[in-house]
């Protein structure tokens, strides 16, 4: 299940809903990404995320399908905010359910690496010094490279 939306969401409520979808699972892993209040350029006032539908959805759905191929998952959910957010707001929520906890951990980690590097989003931070479009960090590319097929 994938949802990209300008609407705020509550990670706890999403986790509760996910648990009912994941009947028979032994383990559920969730990741919630939040808007940080500090960036290299200072205190963050707002973060704006822009997506390009349906390219953004298509990319994430491909990554979700790849996760299902690699790990035995009973359920899988990705929620991503777009639009303007304030510090502390949830940007992204990923949940994975599997019989085995290792599969759930790895699949969630894998999806987050995709979402943080290759997902089709552009983002702008508003700080005291103005608005800045954010470029990918090299650490993100290294994390993503961990999943390269050999």
């Amino acid at each position: 299940m994938l949802r990209i939306s300008d609407e705020p969401f509550d990670a706890g409520r999403e986790l509760s809903a996910f648990e009912t979808e994941a009947k028979g699972a032994g383990g559920i892993v969730s990741f919630t990404g939040l808007v940080r209040d500090h960036a290299s350029s200072g205190e963050v006032r707002a973060l704006t995320l822009q997506a390009y539908s349906p390219m953004t959805e298509r990319g994430i759905e491909t990554a979700m399908a790849e996760a299902r191929e690699r790990w035995p998952l009973m359920a899988l959910k990705v929620i991503h905010r777009t639009g303007e957010m304030a510090p502390g707001d949830a940007i992204v929520f990923v949940a994975t359910a599997s019989i085995h906890r290792r599969a759930a951990f790895e699949a969630a980690d894998f999806l987050m690496d995709y979402l943080k590097t290759e997902a089709v989003f552009w983002k702008k931070e508003a700080t005291a010094t103005g608005e800045h479009w954010i470029e990918p960090r090299s650490q993100d590319y290294q994390d993503r490279a961990r999943w390269a097929k050999v």
């Binding site: 990404g33 822009q50 390009y52 989003f121 983002k123 479009w133 470029e135 990918p136």
Partner: protein, 82 residues
């Protein structure tokens, strides 16, 4: 008429998120489109950067890729992830 979409910082560069216009008859592929639009708006090469990718009808393409009226053409700076 083609619909042009400008994402990320290009939204600021072009001063708008999108526009609809008739492509000049000389513009038949993405390379020609980049050059014509960059010159037309006086952008000093901002649209010629290799890191700017173009998508035609929501598929990323390699230059030069055919374009024509009726296409949705997106100018995409490097994606920053979510």
């Amino acid at each position: 008429m083609a619909q042009l979409l400008y994402f990320g910082r290009l939204m600021d560069t072009l001063g708008r998120p999108e526009e609809t216009l008739t492509l000049p008859t000389s513009v038949r592929d993405t390379s020609a489109l980049r050059e014509w639009l960059d010159r037309d708006r006086g952008l000093d090469g901002a649209l010629l950067e290799k890191t700017i990718r173009l998508a035609v009808n929501s598929e990323i393409v390699a230059d030069p890729h055919p374009v024509s009226d009726g296409d949705e053409i997106a100018f995409m700076p490097p994606v920053g992830g979510g």
